[in-house]
């Protein structure tokens, strides 16, 4: 369960201040895979980072029951100077999981071949996405926060993601950001729509997509 209590966060740059979420209270129950929809710049990625806990709210609270992943994006949480393997080892250490096991799993999943031992800075975005995806799937989380990652990669990668996700989603949930409504419809069964600092929860993803499309028509 993830609960937001009067959660407020403003984006501030150079004197401009824009609400990302403004006094939002809601509960996301376990067992729901949630698609997060909103226009460009609404703050979807920021919301994911708030839920992950990498950035703090201005006021209010976010209560997490269960293990929440880091926001999983193709930009990656990778240090470019470290090799793929070193990055994996680092994650294994900070989450306290077995290093050898995780390396084997990710090496097998990401199919990077010799590049697994090359600096991540030399990777293409597809390669980074494979590494990121495999890495997070190798660590057991109750919630996976996914930011547009399935958009990168070829058909083969997408099929693999789908398969591993389907098995993971048996006992884990996902909160996913994507501009592709097809992807969202594919993976998620309920939705959250972000608009002007407000978050609206829809139990049915179809309703969420409809509401989102209405928002897009307005402006």
């Amino acid at each position: 369960m993830i609960r937001l209590e009067q959660a407020t966060k403003f984006a501030r740059t150079r004197g401009i201040s824009k609400p990302i979420i403004d006094g939002v209270s809601l509960v996301l129950e376990r067992g729901k895979s949630i698609g997060l929809l909103g226009r460009n710049g609404a703050g979807k990625s920021t919301l994911l980072r708030l839920i992950a806990g990498t950035i703090r709210l201005d006021s209010g609270k976010i209560i997490r029951r269960g293990k929440v992943s880091w926001p999983l994006g193709f930009q990656g949480s990778f240090q470019g100077t470290m090799t793929g393997e070193q990055n994996v080892r680092f994650v294994a250490r900070i989450y306290g999981v077995d290093t050898r096991e995780l390396i084997d799993y990710v090496e097998d999943f990401a199919e990077l071949g010799p590049f697994f031992k090359a600096p991540v800075g030399t990777y293409s975005s597809g390669m980074k996405a494979r590494l990121a995806f495999g890495l997070s799937m190798g660590v057991n989380f109750d919630y996976y926060l996914v930011d547009e990652i399935t958009a990168v990669g070829d058909a083969n990668f997408k099929r693999k993601c789908r398969a591993v996700f389907d098995s993971r989603l048996q006992d884990s949930d996902v909160i996913m950001v994507s501009h592709s409504t097809t992807t969202i419809r594919d993976y998620c069964d309920s939705g959250l729509v972000m608009e002007n600092g407000k978050l609206t929860y829809y139990d049915d993803i179809a309703d969420a997509i409809r509401a989102h499309n209405d928002n897009m028509k307005e402006r």
Binding site: R49, A52, G53, T54, I55, R56, V68, W70, P71, G76, S77, F78, Q79, G80, T81, M82, Q86, R89, F90, V91, R93, I94, Y95, G96
Partner: protein
């Protein structure tokens, strides 16, 4: 709420804070390994480079000063005199220049929620402190082994100076991590101010040799005291006039305190950009 519930909540909080400590320790050790790989594993020679730099430095100073002076300001060994000064200085200087970039160099790893900005600083502090100690043992040990009459060491002043120097480096490094991001201009100013410290901190002269009104000005620099204290551990006869470790500690803990304040107030800034 029954009293029992209160105990339960208390226990939960205890467990949570214990969990936090465990996470911090895990993250710091993971960062330590990552930093070691980056610093020593990426080029051939690895750890040797950390030694070679100060060794070469002491050698150059020795050759240069032997040409212009008959005896060092203390004792009879030029290498020992310069090495004690340079290494004491390095406890601060190497620390500050390494810790300065701690957050910046690990920026992408901060996207993991359990990696806190402070962890990167702590990891770099430990790695640098251990490295400088190793450099000190090897370089000073080699010099002492070459001397006809090896110096009699008193460990307390040596360790105290090493600790104080590294604390100064940590405090200023903490401040810099925030300030370099906030005010790029400050980074330029800091390097202009920091660079001549090497010249005026008493690496190759003794503040005791300076006449009174000017000596008091030189003694305002806390690093002068660090180096003086370090040398008293090697030279029995060194009187170290004006040495005031209390002043150095006050200075160090003020910067630490201020650095911590800045650091915790800017956590969002440090994570983002």
């Amino acid at each position: 709420m029954t009293p029992n519930d209160g105990v339960c909540v208390l226990l939960q909080e205890k467990a949570a804070s214990l969990g936090h400590t465990v996470t911090h320790m895990r993250v710091v050790s993971a960062l330590l390994i990552r930093e070691m790989e980056a610093r020593f594993g990426s080029k051939p020679g690895g750890y040797l480079w950390a030694l070679l730099d100060p060794a070469a430095h002491v050698l150059v100073l020795t050759i240069a000063f032997q040409a212009i002076a008959r005896a060092p300001a203390l004792g009879t060994s030029f290498p020992l005199f310069f090495a004690t000064g340079y290494i004491a200085f390095q406890f601060y200087q190497a620390m500050v220049s390494y810790v300065n970039a701690a957050v910046r160099a690990n920026k992408s790893l901060l996207s993991y929620p359990n990696v806190a900005p402070i962890d990167t600083v702590v990891a770099r502090y430990f790695l640098q402190f251990a490295t400088t100690i190793m450099v000190a043992v090897v370089v000073l040990g080699t010099i002492a082994a070459w001397m006809r009459v090896p110096p009699e060491l008193s460990w307390l002043p040596i360790l105290e100076a090493a600790f104080a120097g590294s604390m100064l480096g940590l405090g200023i490094g903490l401040i810099n991590n925030v300030m370099f991001v906030k005010y790029p201009l400050y980074e330029k100013i800091f390097s202009i101010v920091n660079r001549p410290l090497y010249m005026i901190s008493g690496v190759f002269f003794l503040p005791d040799m300076i006449p009174p009104p000017y000596r008091d000005i030189v003694l305002l620099n806390p690093l002068v005291h660090v180096i003086m204290r370090f040398r008293t551990g090697f030279y029995d006869e060194y009187r170290a006039i004006g040495l005031d470790m209390g002043y150095t500690y006050t200075f160090a803990f003020l910067t630490l305190f201020f650095g911590m304040l800045l650091f915790s107030a800017s956590s969002t800034l440090l994570r983002n950009e």
